[in-house]
């Protein structure tokens, strides 16, 4: 509604309508932030997961069919996203590439997250010198920029998806260890822990069945936000030639294959768009989860 001309007093009805207007707009905005963006992110992730799972059914061609006569074809009805230097269908390879990227992302973040959480949680619960040693080891890992360390390890182990995953795992756990430690430290002096101890539960039970379930929220948020991050790092390593072995379709190495082809822009552009959408998707979902779990943010 529009405000009456200045000077005129508002009637009760107008005040009510104005208030409804204001709260309505605020509610819409909150709704947008709390539900729409995370839902969109979730939908994008779901679509990519489906594409990865159903790749052989929905991909229009086979991922490694070489067709030299039809190489570097522009996007057309036959090849929606064009073909690459060997005449392989770009769309098909992007769909198959989702398998690699998502598998690696989930593997690194779930295993790395579990390992880091274990280190941090045990350190916090044990306390004393065990905590000191474990957390100093974690600090030490922070001296290394992840990509350089992962690069050195990946290069030393030899090129291949499995070795790259191992290299990433080595650098991935510390941030989870830090977070898990701070979460468990926040819980360990609470009364329910003392109660569980009095009852006589063993330490492993208290830590894993009582404390961790209470601290799981922030860990889930970090895992979600980190999935996009892991996919980015893996694509970067692949781009440098330290990830997958050709001709395996992978987004980072597809961009690398097309990096000199400025006139045939579709070869490198579309795999990059695929990475971008997945990473943004995970970021939307992660942000949404964080807002949802944080009562302070929820009120705002």
């Amino acid at each position: 509604m529009t405000l009456p001309a200045s000077g005129a007093a508002l009637t009760d009805a107008e005040v009510t309508a104005l208030a409804a207007d204001v709260t309505g707009a605020a509610t819409r905005r909150r709704w947008l932030r709390r539900y729409l963006l995370p839902a969109m992110g979730g939908a994008v992730i779901l679509a990519w997961l489906l594409a990865a799972a159903l790749a052989p059914m929905i991909a229009p061609y086979a991922p490694d069919t070489v067709n030299v006569a039809g190489r570097l074809a522009e996007p057309s009805l036959a090849h929606w996203l064009g073909t690459d230097e060997l005449g392989r269908d770009v769309l098909t390879r992007i769909i198959y590439g989702a398998r690699t990227s998502l598998t690696v992302g989930f593997t690194v973040v779930l295993i790395g997250g579990a390992a880091g959480t274990l280190v941090g949680a045990v350190a916090a619960y044990a306390g004393g010198w065990a905590e000191e040693i474990l957390m100093r080891a974690t600090d030490l890992m922070f001296c290394f920029p992840p990509i350089i360390l992962a690069m050195a390890i990946a290069a030393a182990l030899g090129i291949g998806t499995r070795n790259t995953v191992i290299a990433m795992l080595v650098v991935w756990w510390p941030k989870f260890a830090r977070l898990a430690r701070s979460l468990v430290v926040g819980q360990r002096s609470l009364e329910y822990v003392a109660a569980a101890r009095t009852i006589g539960f063993p330490p492993t039970h208290i830590l894993f069945r009582q404390i961790l379930p209470n601290a799981v929220g922030p860990l889930v948020v970090l895992i979600t936000l980190d999935l996009g991050n892991a996919i980015l790092v893996f694509a970067g390593l692949s781009f440098l030639g330290l990830g997958v072995v050709p001709p395996m379709p992978e987004w980072g190495s597809m961009v690398s294959e097309g990096r000199e082809l400025v006139a045939q822009w579709w070869v490198a552009t579309f795999p990059g768009v695929a990475i971008l959408t997945v990473v943004i998707g995970f970021n939307f979902v992660g942000d949404g989860l964080r807002d949802w779990l944080d009562p302070y943010a929820r009120r705002r």
């Binding site: 290394f144 350089i148 360390l149 050195a152 990946a154 182990l157 030899g158 440098l240 822009w265 990059g272």
Partner: protein
Amino acid sequence: MRRYIASRLAIAAAMVLLATLIIFLIANAVPGDPVLTQLGDIAANNPAIVAAYRHKWGFDLPMWQRYWLFLRGLAHGDLGISISSQRPVIEDIAQYAPATVELSTAAFLLSLVFGLPLGVIAAMKRDSWIDHLARAVSLTGVSAPTFWLAFIMLAVFYGWLGWAPGPGQIGADQFPPPEVTGFMLIDAPLAGQWDTFRDALGHLVLPSIVLAAATMGLITRTTRAAMLEALSQDYIRVARAKGLRRRAIMLGHALPNALLPVVTLGGLAYAQLLTGTVLTETIFSWPGLGRYTFQSAVILDFPAIMGITLVVAVVYVIVNLIVDLSYALLDPRVMRR
């Protein structure tokens, strides 16, 4: 204060020492054999050559002895000799570092100049179109793969529009200035080569934008969140009740308090920029440490890898130290504690 600095320095030194040990262990525990990577196939099949090579580089000594040699050299400022360039690693690093410092400093300044105001404005005009724009820009910056962004920028601004120069630090038609500091943007004016200076500046534009994208996103997000947090505090309400102007409240009261987390993040971001230039430098053929790291890692040049890692760890530790100390400056309470 002096004790605080001293204890932090001691911890930092211990960290760096442990870091060299870790890198040394990784370099030695992995199955890849640098000898076989370095020698050609024919030489690698000749046991005499392999043995001589191993002896020359000390690969036949026990592991702890090699580590001891490395540490002793370190005490003399010696990082060993790069297997591939046959030069002292420290010289290699000194040669490549300036280009990286130039690039990452330019990127850092860019991300501060755009990220900070954007974050402040987004917080002041929350839920307005500019807030949404800031969110979209920072999210894209954080989520876009660096190497892809680099390709797009090169394809559009160099290949298609021709507005920006191509890869490299200076054009092929330019003579590099005589080396004084190693920094292109300092040496060129020193030699009076203003054309080279302008050319180098032009070459800096695309890679620094690409490198700045992610950092700018982080800085915008952090600034916005910190400003919102500060704005919800009681002293802001008091300032409002006093009738202070909005501008004075924002810039005089909220911003200084919001800067603390931004300084922490900014320090870390700068350290990450300095060490995270691998992809950008590789694509833009930038003669810096990132490209050197990549080239050394691929051929398992362990002295080079260890040297770089050490330098990187030192940079991280120093930046963290500076962050801690600037914290004490910005927030007097830290010192009193």
